[in-house]
Symmetry: C2
Subunit: 453 residues, 2 copies
């Protein structure tokens, strides 16, 4: 499955960018309610990027384009419980490590190395202890850890063929999962049942979920991770579900469909506004374009659509300048996609934000996770939405600020539209873009058709 | 869903056993690849036992039979992303807390309190910091933490009605999941597909898995948590899959069935040996009986069966004394079941082992997780098995030690039996036992029948 030349190429590219050695840890799975009952293991993405395979409790040391592997051989007890596992030497051969050592040797090889802190706290403590210095993600630092992060970001921002192959594998499974979810909804009584249909397709392909699925008739709760609600005729169901490939590459897809198979006219009206924003954003994407401008375009199309429906009042561009779109579309238009669903978000905004840029304090821009010019090889999501978030609509400050631009009576006619999002994964190419998720329909009538089948 | 009288009764019982205050933390979900991409939250079982509901980032202080709740209200930002959540006061009313405070007040209420370390390392560090002392599970300690553990163990060892109701809910869903898995196997091509059928039933009922499922044609790998293998006619599929109820109570069931719907005669022979051990163990169970004797009975029945098949040579009792059964049945006959699938295993052997007892260093006894006399209200698993574990069979030391008692040629005739386990969950009652998993057949022909349907 792994392509060794790609891995070696990644190591070589890193070596060309830094002049100090690097140690990257893979981490280990955290315990759930007792030590032996652990969460499924997920290797650190930076480690995965250079080794290709998810090894638990391992580390690599990169210097020039050489890779040394550090891991302990399985214990005899482990062989009893987990069967014959590959030895350190087996792994070293597979990933073409230049040397392979037991973990205890690592402490002798850490002079002047840079690293990136892992998420797993047990391993993080080991990192700190062995390196004897604090580890942090500091946007303003100039130390070697920071230089390493910037070097790795410059590699991971755009994807090589192996990465794209993996992302496409994950996407294809997610597309099928969504189709199955859409098809089965009329037979399902609860959110949990639809989620089970979708995730079981991902599981049947021996993949995992790249993030906790959102499958809800309350799409206005943006990160809703419960599945308790009954499906009722007239509800829209929002499903944000994406597979992760066996080698750890993510996909991220959202669709919204009517539980009873037919959008109401109010639902259809808003759906088409969101879809227009989605289509316009993808249409505008190309290398060199600022992603922030894509976001603002999406915001404008949504404002325009809501003006046409009589929900907002005023000139769409002025409305966006006032952040009035964000009453109904409070999040960013999307984010980087790669080994992580929000790629490299473990590094804060270092990956998402171009050098020298920081988060806006504007209500309509502050949640944007990506502010860079697009480059060929980048994969980003485009995910406009419309939500009636109670915390926003009932907020005295917002209510006052936007009282003049919202037609509250008109809005009441759209009370059966609590949350809509349409999300696709887009590859920026040399000549334009490729919609990697194109096999999953976006148009309302196409979705209704799947539900009839 | 929670029964407040039961919760108050548990608090009262604890108060009657200790004369110092207790603080229990719930923990938080660990990050996976970046902070916002976290594992599903699982509250600490000790916390759950007294509060009933899985609150994240909360703590309770118990003194006499009073409960004080410590948690912070959701931030405005959290309301935007996660919707309107219950406030501290809402929760306090629900669990009948005597007082409710923000988390920062906790530091003023920790004089002389005992605690139990949680699994979540971030919270564990907070515990250590606020209490300013090391936290450990020490079998020989006499400090208040240790006294608290023993008090809680004495409560959690036997189950009240609310606990049993939850365990039964989880079991009923697991039984259905197994039936669906058995029924669908002939249509499935891979282990992953059967796993998806089983887990999706659990997911569709809005439950989670109490542990990482084992669904494998290599049952001889005891903790096999990969699902890569193709199903081939002639294989046995071993599935160890159990749901956890919404309030956190576990179930734990294993069945083994033939991929093609029909046990071969060699498979059937060994299956019946394992089943005989399973049935005899359950038959012998009753209050007052030592669980260790149940284990030894299971071992003897397996040895006897293998002697009858010509695989082992000698007198069954002598074989068990020599640990020869453990060549093929290397693990314990079962364990406690409750809020954790190995209940209270976070406390090491404190819960599983009666005061003054420790693990045996015998090969055939050392993996036993429970060594206590049975008591009414206990739920334990009974899970004998037969495995051809390569790490054991090829081990020079074992080979030599057991060369005289194993008929290696005969064993070759059973090469299509790599791993079999049959596992049920049993409640000890005042008058005998109740097989909580009785709705899932154990007999070979019953299982074959399900596969025909």
């Amino acid at each position: 499955m792994i392509d060794i030349n790609t891995l070696k190429n990644r190591r070589k590219k890193l070596a060309s960018l830094i002049n100090f050695p690097t140690v990257l840890w893979s981490g280990k799975s955290p315990s759930k309610n007792f030590k032996a009952n652990h969460y499924p293991f997920r290797a650190s993405s930076h480690f995965l990027y250079f080794t290709g395979i998810p090894l638990e409790n391992a580390a690599i040391r990169l210097e020039n384009d050489k890779l040394d592997l550090f891991m302990d051989n399985p214990s005899p007890d482990s062989t009893l419980w987990h069967g014959e596992m590959p030895t350190r030497e087996d792994i070293a051969r597979k990933i073409e490590a230049n040397n392979a050592y037991p973990m205890k040797i690592l402490k002798d090889k850490i002079d002047g190395v840079a690293t990136i802190p892992v998420q797993d706290i047990v391993t993080y403590e080991k990192q700190r202890k062995i390196l004897q210095r604090p580890l942090s993600i500091n946007q303003d630092s100039k130390d070697i850890d920071h230089q390493l992060m910037k070097a790795i970001i410059s590699l991971r921002l755009t994807h090589d063929e192996m990465a794209l192959k993996e992302i496409k594998k994950a996407i294809n499974i997610s597309v099928e999962a969504h189709k199955k979810g859409i098809k089965s909804t009329k037979k399902c009584a609860t959110e949990a049942e639809v989620r089970a249909v979708m995730e079981s397709h991902i599981m049947s392909q021996n993949m995992t979920c790249a993030y906790n699925s959102i499958v809800t008739v309350h799409g206005e709760i943006l990160h809703n991770e419960t599945y308790n609600n009954l499906l009722e005729s007239g509800d829209l169901l929002l499903a944000d579900v994406g597979a992760e490939s066996a080698l750890g590459w993510a996909s991220d897809i959202t669709r919204t469909w009517p539980v009873n198979g037919q959008f109401s006219s109010s639902q259809r009206d808003i759906y088409d506004v969101v879809l227009a924003a989605h289509d316009a954003c993808i249409e505008k994407m190309q290398a060199g374009i600022e992603y922030r401008d894509i976001h603002l375009l999406g915001a404008k199309i949504i404002a325009e659509g809501l003006v046409n429906l009589g929900i907002l009042k005023g000139n769409p561009e002025t409305l966006v300048e006032k952040d009035a779109h964000a009453i109904f579309f409070p999040h960013g238009i999307g984010h980087l996609l790669g080994l992580d669903v929000h790629d490299m978000e473990d590094l804060g905004d270092l990956a998402g934000y171009e050098d020298g840029r920081t988060r806006s304090d504007r209500f309509g821009l502050g949640y944007l996770r990506l502010d860079r010019p697009l480059k060929p090889g980048m994969v980003v999501t485009i995910e406009p939405g419309f939500y009636q978030v109670q915390a926003i609509l009932n907020h005295p400050q917002f209510k006052e600020k936007y009282n003049q631009v919202v037609n509250w009576d008109k809005l009441k006619q759209f009370s059966d539209v609590r949350g809509i999002r349409i999300e696709d994964d887009i590859l920026v190419t040399e000549t334009g873009t490729e919609i990697l998720t194109k096999n999953l329909p976006t148009q309302a009538e196409e979705i209704e058709e799947i539900m009839v089948e």
